[in-house]
């Protein structure tokens, strides 16, 4: 090749010399062929069993779009925001009542700014107004189903109720995590931990009204211990076990966010245990793929499966997995999309090469878009700037992205405003309209605080059908809470990107398949048969609660589900001793409005006792993986129900399972993460950790 000739990289790559293997390698490899040869499922193009599809709930709502989807509860109603948290109403909200030990203490919080919070508030209010006596809403706090399995639990304590209020006004105050948790041992500390440098606008106030957990005076949590400065998380509590006789219905909105998993991964990879507040169990569970197949026809496939759980002692406990998998929309049938990227180019994006990661992530996305899709770009540093009106010209887009450099301070509000203006102006009537915010969530300049940004987003979602996806980047200075709240309000999904690989997962695998929303206002209701199931506990989804009686209220703003999306919900249940071994243990219902026909549809699927695996070993692979992932998350979170949980045990089982999952990158990665977490946890004095 001569200098002027075009360098033929392809040829050079193809001709790269290959190193010959060492002579003894083949012998070693032969020796490692297992005694008992594995049985590949050769001819079958798809894995086999275990895949369940769904039922549970998920609603992904909002964003079916780009990245995601999420479930929006009625929480998004503005009026809900105004409702002051009311202690006396607490018993009406079923989620909050827990039994069991300190751990059993239930935490609930209401945050006008937070997404779930309002939901809870509103729901509570309505429940009070409408059905004060509805039993399903109020499991008697005093009928604690004690964990029969005494293994993990200590003596039951009186339920402790804790409230956390987040408002958009006062200066940032944080709950002192240490104080909170040590007094609520085993309980779930509520509160906002960490602060935002510079303040996110007006900031958040946290106040705890439990006997425990006095708010601290703010500042950054344990600056000396915190691996990253100013990381902002929020605790949402843990669901209790509920007696089926008291309440046989479990109703909630689905959530397909996965940000919590990636954030935790980032911590672990850097050699730190993630803070408890950073763990949202359902986001861990939904970060993995369980091989559930999309429906052959119809909008959704629902799957239900169960097996004995190794993490609950006692013969009667089962872990149940419901999965809802949305139909796949062929790329060529997808509606054209107008995507407006709002990219944070403030100084903080220079840290850790964040902006570079954003640029590469966007590059990945461009690869996958159709020629009819248009992309616009707004950036904000000290001020917002319109870089590119939505266009289909890929080169122009790529150039614009390439030229981004970090600058100035952060005026997130102006950036989002401008992004929404652009999206509204170039709105496609029949297409998909989405704003994608790429930021570390740090917002330090702007007239108004998060409250006004949230209102704006909410209005746009409602009136103009513009959805929002937030993608978080960076760790030091990272604001998990703001990013998640924004996505919640904006009918969108929140994801966190720590690596380009993650960006690929989000922007390529999930985003493109799911730009198109297939179902709106989707809710899940699981009904347990009291003659079979003694008690149940929903794992995760703490802030997606919907009042049982509102399941068929189609005005409830619930989740949107994107094409191809899969949502899993796990329950732990305890069977009745004398229960028959036939019949149905639970029925899951999925209710949603079809985007295509506009009609409300309700699907139903039974979990039959005959479908319950007789042992953990014989359980379907997806169920095993989901159970391990959930246990991992619960132990990291220090949940009461996983109080005696042991990462070493999770690790052993994950290793045993991992073989079957080695080609799935994320599952393979999980083993590594559990290992790290286990080592880190061991290295921390177990006692001090416990007290923490």
């Amino acid at each position: 090749m001569k200098s002027n000739a075009k360098i033929d990289v392809e040829k050079m790559l193809a001709e790269t010399p290959a190193a010959a293997p060492p002579e003894d390698l083949l012998e070693k490899l032969r020796a490692e062929i297992p005694e008992e040869l594995p049985k590949p499922a050769v001819m079958v193009p798809a894995p086999s069993r275990g895949w369940m599809k769904v039922a549970a709930a998920l609603l992904l709502a909002g964003a079916a779009g780009l990245i995601g989807y999420r479930v929006t509860l009625d929480s998004e109603r503005p009026d809900a925001v105004e409702l002051p948290p009311a202690t006396d109403r607490e018993p009406l909200t079923k989620t909050r009542v827990t039994e069991g030990g300190p751990a059993g203490s239930v935490v609930r919080e209401e945050a006008p700014v937070g997404k779930e919070k309002p939901a809870v508030a509103k729901q509570t209010r309505e429940a009070a107004a409408k059905a004060p006596s509805n039993e399903t809403l109020s499991p008697p706090p005093s009928a604690p189903a004690k964990r029969v399995v005494g293994e993990r639990a200590a003596e039951p304590l009186a339920p402790v109720t804790q409230k956390v209020v987040v408002t958009g006004e006062a200066p940032l105050v944080e709950l002192d995590r240490k104080a909170a948790s040590s007094s609520v041992e085993g309980g779930v500390p509520g509160g906002v931990v960490g602060g935002i440098a510079g303040g996110t606008g007006p900031g958040f106030t946290t106040s705890a009204r439990a006997p425990i957990a006095a708010p601290s005076t703010g500042g950054t949590r344990e600056p000396n211990d915190a691996p990253y400065g100013d990381v902002f998380f929020k605790e949402y509590g843990t669901n209790p076990f509920v007696d089926t006789d008291d309440d046989r219905l479990s109703t909630f909105g689905l959530d397909v966010d996965t940000g919590s998993y990636t954030v935790a991964r980032r911590y672990l990879t850097d050699g730190n245990l993630p803070p408890r507040e950073a763990i949202r169990v359902e986001e861990f569970v939904n970060a993995f793929s369980y091989g559930d197949r999309p429906p052959a026809r119809g909008d959704f496939a629902i799957r239900a499966e169960a097996a004995p759980t190794p993490f609950m002692k006692g013969d009667l406990y089962r872990v149940v997995r419901f999965n809802v998998r949305g139909r796949v929309v062929d790329e060529k049938d997808r509606k054209p999309a107008v995507l407006t990227f709002v990219v944070d180019v403030s100084g903080s994006m220079r840290m850790e090469n964040r902006l570079e990661l954003v640029k590469r992530a966007l590059g990945l996305l461009l690869d996958e878009l159709k020629s009819s899709d248009r992309v616009g770009l707004v950036v904000y540093g000290s001020e917002a700037r319109r870089i590119l009106d939505p266009t289909a010209d890929r080169e122009a887009i790529r150039d614009a992205i390439d030229r981004l450099v970090p600058e100035g301070s952060t005026n997130a509000e102006q950036g989002l405003r401008m992004g929404y203006e652009m999206a509204a102006r170039f709105r496609s009537r029949d297409g998909i309209n989405r704003v994608v915010l790429c930021s570390d969530g740090v917002a330090n300049v702007g007239r108004t605080g998060p409250a006004s940004i949230l209102q704006l987003i909410e209005r746009e979602a409602r009136e103009n059908d513009i959805e929002l996806t937030t993608v978080g980047f960076g760790m030091g200075n990272y604001n998990d809470v703001l990013m998640e709240q924004l996505a919640n309000k904006g009918d969108g999904r929140y994801a966190y990107v720590d690596t380009l690989e993650e960006a690929r997962r989000i922007f390529v695998e999930e985003l493109t398949g799911t730009l198109q929303t297939i179902a709106a206002d989707a809710k899940i209701q699981v009904e347990f048969d009291p003659s079979v199931v003694a008690r149940w506990r929903l794992i995760g989804y703490e802030n997606r609660d919907i009042a049982d009686e509102r399941f068929r209220d189609d005005s409830v703003d619930a989740g949107e589900i994107g094409a191809g999306h899969s949502v899993t919900a796990l329950y732990e249940i305890k069977l009745k001793e004398d229960a028959s071994r036939r019949g149905t243990a639970a029925t899951v219902r999925l209710r949603y409005r079809s985007k295509e026909t506009g009609k409300v549809v309700e699907l139903e699927h039974d979990l039959r006792l005959s479908d319950v695996a007789s042992s953990w070993e014989s359980a379907p692979r997806g169920l095993k993986l989901a159970t391990l992932v959930a246990e991992f998350a619960e132990v990291l979170k220090g949940n009461y129900w996983a109080k005696d949980g042991d990462l070493a045990e999770v690790l052993r089982r994950a290793r045993r399972l991992s073989p079957e999952l080695a080609s799935d990158e994320r599952s393979a990665e999980m083993v590594t993460l559990v290992e790290r977490a286990e080592r880190l946890k061991r290295s921390v004095d177990p006692k001090s950790r416990e007290e923490e």
Binding site: T16, I33, E665
Partner: protein
């Protein structure tokens, strides 16, 4: 592969025999399924050189490390085999496992930009034969280093395609994306690599 392998090169599995590679793989897997140990050995023999060679390049020429990772790859692959779903070819699937093993080893991989700024991963290796050493010219060093510095998705695509000899269609199936996306990635990788080689190529 776009070019036939030159003599003396390690031949990618797909070129070994007359029968279409995919069918051969399938036949071998069927025999393994039936408990045929010899088939298992055949599978290893046919695939390990490519796996090793790919890992050696990923490891910047560290042959000991590559040998360790090759062993690890097969350990994992045997365990994972029951879950192999035939979505992509076996060898593509195997390369994914090898690549994951490498990522797990490198483990900076969870970082945003794993390889950038890493100095000279491609130092000449004392274990190389004289002939190989000759070929490790400045250009191929630069090229190898540039490949390692690619963003992860591009790097996987490029190495799977050229170092492990997998087809674009199989890579796309394995990764669950469209072939168009893989082609675009390869093109973008070429652009980056060309820029990296600018001025070095005589």
């Amino acid at each position: 592969m776009s070019t036939m392998p030159a003599a003396g090169e390690v031949v990618p599995v797909s070129y070994r025999e007359g029968m279409p590679a995919q069918e051969q793989e399938r036949a071998i897997l069927e025999r393994i399924r039936a408990g045929d140990r010899a088939a298992a050995e055949t599978l290893v023999e046919r695939t390990y050189a490519t796996v090793f060679a790919s890992l050696a390049r990923l490891c910047g020429g560290d042959r000991d490390l590559a040998a360790d990772l090759t062993q690890e790859t097969y350990r994992k692959a045997w365990q994972a085999l029951p879950g192999f779903d035939g979505r992509a070819r076996f060898s593509t699937w195997l390369y994914r496992i090898a690549y994951n093993a490498f990522l797990n080893h490198a483990r900076r991989p969870l970082r945003a930009v794993p390889f950038e700024g890493r100095d000279g991963p491609l130092s000449a290796d004392p274990g190389q034969s004289a002939e190989e050493a000759l070929e490790s010219s400045e250009v191929s060093l630069r090229l190898g280093r540039a490949v390692l510095a690619l963003p992860d998705d591009l790097r996987f695509s490029v190495t799977a395609r050229f170092w492990a000899g997998q087809s674009v269609a199989d890579i796309a199936r394995q990764e669950g994306v469209s072939t168009v996306a893989i082609r675009k990635r390869l093109r973008r990788a070429f652009t980056t690599l060309e820029a990296a080689l600018e001025g070095v190529v005589p």
